[in-house]
């Protein structure tokens, strides 16, 4: 801990500290050198193995009235359980190497380059007790001009934030906590996939060999009508592939920071756009970050893949299922199977309801999907505290 408390003195001022004759090494609790090498955290793609920046060092005003400035920086440390898949016992070694345990996550506050709280991290009542935040590490550098804003008692090593300082750190922390937690969950999910416990993969496996009926009982199709059905099927497929290509161009342009043309988009780009960060083994049900109109789901169809569904995992209702009911994998599987059939039904109706113009059917179904999605979002917002998991709320 001495190496943490006097990190800056040992590192920058070249001061040497010895305990029982042994030199104390400076310990950077944020492991910023590794973060510099690995770059910024993308919580949707992090593999759980690398230290990454959540927020690079920046100066902020913590208290406007007292004109108190500080430097704040935040990193994400590795996800130790991920390493257990490499080698038994490695998880414990990673925890030790990066000091990942209860009480060590939160903010390390350095006043005049010395850690104030010799016991470690501060939560300020802002960072809750949550195992999914074990990898979150923040550092706040202040000088003695902040003593009033932080109500610092150096002897007692206590800190109490002014209202403005609290609100500022609370605001910034919201993003840090969310990104850290999502990244940790992403690492957990990848581990589950490798262990064969991923509900999305299970749902995909269940329906891998299932195709809904071509024609439902009562929906008689004459040979002449079959030609029209085939034509509509082709039109649906062409429309969806065209829409996918447009989306892939937009995605690639955003990623590369310049306009990209359609011929610069290849099959890998198309698949990445279609499937998002879903496990590549998924063939019909994809969890993606966004769909048109911010609906909860949308169908995809082409002759090769058949009917698929893209589920907007950031939609309020999807988050209620995937995040609030994280442990309920059966619920998630049934939810995904249900939406896949909803998507297949849209394609079926477009193809087979020959008495109506196909593009009109597409528009009406799209509107129905959008309105349903908005109603579900409104319900989640208003009834948030009454939705499952109910056992926790009773």
């Amino acid at each position: 801990m001495v190496g943490v408390i006097y990190y800056y003195f040992i590192k920058d001022e070249a001061i040497s500290i010895y305990i029982d004759g042994a030199p104390i090494k400076p310990i950077d609790v944020l492991f910023t050198e590794e973060a510099d090498t690995n770059g910024n955290l993308d919580e949707n793609e992090w593999n759980g193995r690398e230290v990454r920046w959540i927020d690079r060092p920046k100066e902020i005003t913590l208290d406007a009235e007292l004109n108190v400035k500080a430097q704040i920086e935040v990193t994400q440390l590795p996800h130790p359980p991920t390493f257990e898949l490499d080698e038994r016992g490695k998880q414990a070694a990673i925890r030790k190497q990066y000091r990942i345990e209860a009480g060590n996550y939160g903010y390390y506050v350095y006043r005049n380059k010395r850690l104030i709280n010799v016991h470690g991290a501060e939560s300020f009542g802002i960072i809750p007790q949550d195992q999914d935040l074990y990898a979150l590490r923040g550092r706040i550098l202040i000088d003695d001009s902040a003593d009033d804003a932080f109500n610092i008692d150096v002897k007692k090593s206590t800190i109490m934030l002014s209202d403005d300082a609290y609100n500022t750190i609370d605001l910034l922390s919201d993003e840090y906590k969310r990104k850290s937690k999502r990244a940790w969950e992403r690492a957990k999910q990848l581990k589950h996939e490798r262990e064969g416990n991923d509900p999305n993969l299970v749902a995909n496996e269940i329906v891998a060999d299932f195709e809904p009926p071509d024609v439902l009982p009562g929906d008689v199709v004459t040979p002449v009508e079959e030609v029209e059905v085939s034509k509509r099927e082709h039109e649906v497929s062409e429309e969806m592939q065209s829409k996918l290509r447009t989306a892939a161009v937009k995605k690639k342009s955003q990623e590369e920071g310049h306009d990209v043309t359609e011929d610069q988009v290849d099959q890998t780009d198309l698949v990445a756009t279609l499937k998002g960060d879903t496990n590549p083994a998924a063939t019909k049900i994809y969890r993606v970050n966004a769909v048109d109109d911010n609906s909860l789901w949308e169908p995809y169809y082409d002759a090769e893949t058949g009917g698929c569904v893209r589920i907007n995992k950031l939609h309020k209702f999807a988050r209620q299922v995937y995040e609030e009911n994280r442990e309920n994998t059966d619920l998630q599987i049934m939810f995904e199977l249900f939406l896949l059939q909803m998507a297949e039904a849209e394609i079926y109706v477009q193809k087979n309801f020959l008495s109506l113009d196909r593009t009109k059917i597409r528009e009406v179904l799209g509107e129905y999907r959008r309105v349903s999605s908005d109603f579900l979002a409104a319900m989640c917002r208003r009834l948030e505290n009454r939705l499952p998991p109910l056992t926790e709320k009773q």
Binding site: T61, E175, N294, H315, A377
Partner: protein, 158 residues
């Protein structure tokens, strides 16, 4: 001079149009050094939202009065900046994650920006982070709003 207070000319434009527009809005009082950030997709735009805010239980009123310790009516230098959001369903619909994401990023941007403006200010609104804040277009849009605020704040006056 026969007026109890000088006449007040207010530029309203069409900020009451919430039919096809959603907004990010920023309330500013330089006298009290306070800034409040909000979002709305209400039918009456930011003007309609303003009506809620100044009401007895309006959030702006409650926050202002709890922090300043005086009635909101004493803030006689209030400025309201309204920014229309992209006219797309993601921003206009009931599902508010896109609007909330921009609202969060703008608030965060203003917290960082206050280091370099005069007079500095306190943010009195409370917003929560949403995952949409990682979206490139959302970040771009929020950055534009913050840049506009920075460009105009110091010289804006009631």
């Amino acid at each position: 001079m026969i007026f109890p207070t000088p006449p007040i000319w207010t530029n309203v434009s069409s900020i009451f149009d919430g039919v096809n527009s959603a907004y990010i809005y920023i309330w500013i009082s330089k006298k009290y050094r306070l800034v409040y950030v909000g979002q709305t997709n209400g039918l009456r735009g930011t003007l309609g939202r303003a009506r809620n805010h100044i009401g007895k239980h309006g959030t702006l009123r409650l926050r202002f009065e709890s922090i300043v310790g005086e009635k909101l009516e004493l803030a006689d230098d209030l400025i309201l900046a309204s920014y229309t959001l992209p006219r797309q369903r993601e921003y206009l619909g009931l599902e508010s994650s896109y609007r909330e994401a921009i609202e969060y990023l703008v608030q965060k941007g203003l917290v960082v920006a206050r280091t370099g403006v005069t007079p500095t200010y306190k943010l009195i609104s409370k917003v929560r982070y949403t995952d949409r804040a990682s979206d490139v277009l959302v970040r771009d849009y929020a950055r534009e709003i913050v840049n506009d605020f920075k460009a105009n704040y110091s010289r804006a006056s009631f």
